[in-house]
Symmetry: C2
Subunit: 168 residues, 2 copies
């Protein structure tokens, strides 16, 4: 396998993985492309490399910036904007975790806490079962949330070494 084949396959694989995780294919591919690029790339570069339109490239670069996975880079004497990806995988994982915590875990916790307040009749099986599930979920999602907090404060080698030591 030569470099171009390997590169193409990596971008493809990352794109597929992205879509399995609810991230659109192009965004994951743009991310993959920037991850392996030694230099920042312009919108033009991304359009050419991935054969996508200007609009698509622009929107996905923007989204990646919103996810805090990329930043704009200015080259003196050049009016084009360039984009550079965060390369540290642990840092990437933390930023994604932080964002998903905020966008998904926290809102769900809020809803679950509201549902606990619902006006229920504990003599009814359906109500009991509902409440039991909500309580269990709230507890579990709360622990997930706290675990992400641990991860956000941790450094990589410590985090995994602690976690993996436990298996022995």
């Amino acid at each position: 396998m030569n470099f171009n084949q390997a590169k193409t396959q990596f971008i493809q694989t990352w794109g597929t993985l992205g879509s399995e995780w609810g991230i659109n294919r192009s965004m994951a591919q743009v991310h993959a492309l920037l991850l392996i690029s030694p230099e920042p790339l312009s919108t033009e570069n991304v359009m050419e490399e991935l054969s996508i339109s200007r609009g698509n490239a622009n929107m996905n670069l923007r989204d990646l910036i919103n996810w805090n996975l990329m930043s704009k880079v200015l080259v003196p004497g050049d009016r084009q904007e360039y984009f550079e990806a965060e390369k540290d995988i642990w840092e990437i994982a933390r930023r994604i975790a932080k964002e998903r915590k905020k966008r998904e875990l926290e809102p769900v916790l809020k809803v679950l806490d509201q549902l606990k307040q619902a006006d229920l009749d504990k003599s009814l099986k359906t109500h009991q079962s509902f409440l039991a599930t909500i309580n269990d979920l709230d507890d579990f999602v709360g622990k997930m949330d706290k675990s992400v907090e641990v991860m956000l404060k941790a450094d990589e080698s410590w985090f995994f070494s602690t976690l993996l030591k436990l298996i022995k």
Copy 2:
């Protein structure tokens, strides 16, 4: 908020969360419905409760069984099949983790390991950068994979208490 409102909101919320995670809305809703149901439900019940078609109900129940989140229950003297969800949240999390590990982590590891073998010229910056990213990712995904193994062998209270104690 009364019971029906709470129930509807829970099913809705779970459906939305599902789609953010690449799981189709109906499947997540069927799961939610069964999670809070004190009794197993038939395909008919699911169709009515969620106002979806027979085909849709059938396919999603089937998929949930494939994910090992639900099982068929036979009621003596009744020809209809009933479905019952696993209720233990920790057990649900483990089964999902196990499945995603198999479907996503392991294939990605395989690809990354192949890409490491690609025929590269280490004097080129692009190749160096590619290899560095692939190696870092392989390392990280490998640790994730191992971490899931830890989780699969662990029991809930131990797992979280160990993890959360670390924050203090």
